[in-house]
Symmetry: C2
Subunit: 184 residues, 2 copies
């Protein structure tokens, strides 16, 4: 069992995902999630604002990325700045099986899908703002954030599909793919 | 007055946008939109499924893009295939002032924002499927769709900010920006 599943938050996430798969997202209550995890509802709300948030624990991605962006060497171009930040996170934050199941549950629920989209857009906006603070012009910052997230998604897809390389290596591969796509 | 505003659909879009700006999206009813446009509610529902759809008339973008993608020359790479399709649309489909006001109204309403995000993701999925049908592998197709949409957004931003070049020229400029961002 991966280490995160041993903690309270991980147990709640695992219980929620299992219940969403068994009986659907709409048909599952916070009380059921807490019970399945052998925890109280109060514990649940210590970690998550509501039921929808339980699959979005990686919201704190930006808390990982933004300090790295801020600390990047002066003069580093926009995309390498973002990719450095993406490579610095403690790998992908959940076990692969969990992420695969999670993706299926999200795809099946419009409410979860909207939550994920808004999460991505919010992250993109924060990345743009961080790049602008470093002196990049707005147009470059927006394009770099869009393209950087495209590279991140590509690397994550490779990992989910079974490529066990270090995440920095997957990002480098995805960047090569980007160059190929952009130049051809 | 741009030509599209003379037709029923354009009048409904214009009336809706004005009302959303004056009194908010949530506070506006379909009946009010129809009245402002001197049309009946029945006319409204002939064009739009509900209030939220009235600002998303360019949903038919994919109806413009997909045939162009299908008809692209054999062997054309993924990104140029998409950019050819984007350049083939009848320019940007609404007057600039309308699009600027529309963007502000959407940004102010979570419901409209969600609708726009889902629209973009649905478009991306259809572009990926169209590229895979042309023989591109799934990874390349997904990356090219993400990157192509980043280029499209960049070109659209330039246009909204006042660049009156032909849209194909704006796309070419955005593609140069992409190369700069990707290579540096």
């Amino acid at each position: 069992m991966a280490r995160w599943e041993g903690n309270t938050r991980g147990r709640l996430e695992r219980a929620a995902l299992d219940l969403f798969r068994e009986q659907g997202y709409d048909g599952t209550t916070v009380a059921q999630i807490a019970q399945r995890a052998n925890l109280t509802e109060r514990s649940f709300y210590r970690w998550f604002a509501d039921k929808r948030e339980v699959l979005f624990g990686d919201d704190d991605l930006e808390a990982c990325y933004l300090p790295v962006i801020q600390a990047a060497p002066d003069g580093l171009a926009a995309l390498p700045t973002l990719l450095t930040a993406f490579a610095s996170t403690p790998q992908v934050l959940r076990p692969r099986d969990f992420l695969i199941e999670r993706a299926a549950v999200i795809a099946a629920s419009p409410a979860l899908r909207e939550r994920e989209l808004i999460k991505m857009v919010t992250l993109a906006e924060k990345l743009v703002a961080a790049l602008v603070r470093r002196g990049h012009d707005e147009q470059t910052a927006q394009l770099a954030a869009d393209v950087g997230l495209a590279v991140l998604r590509s690397a994550t897809r490779r990992w989910i599909l079974g490529d066990d390389s270090d995440f920095a290596v997957l990002l480098a591969t995805a960047r090569q793919d980007l160059l190929r796509v952009a130049v051809m």
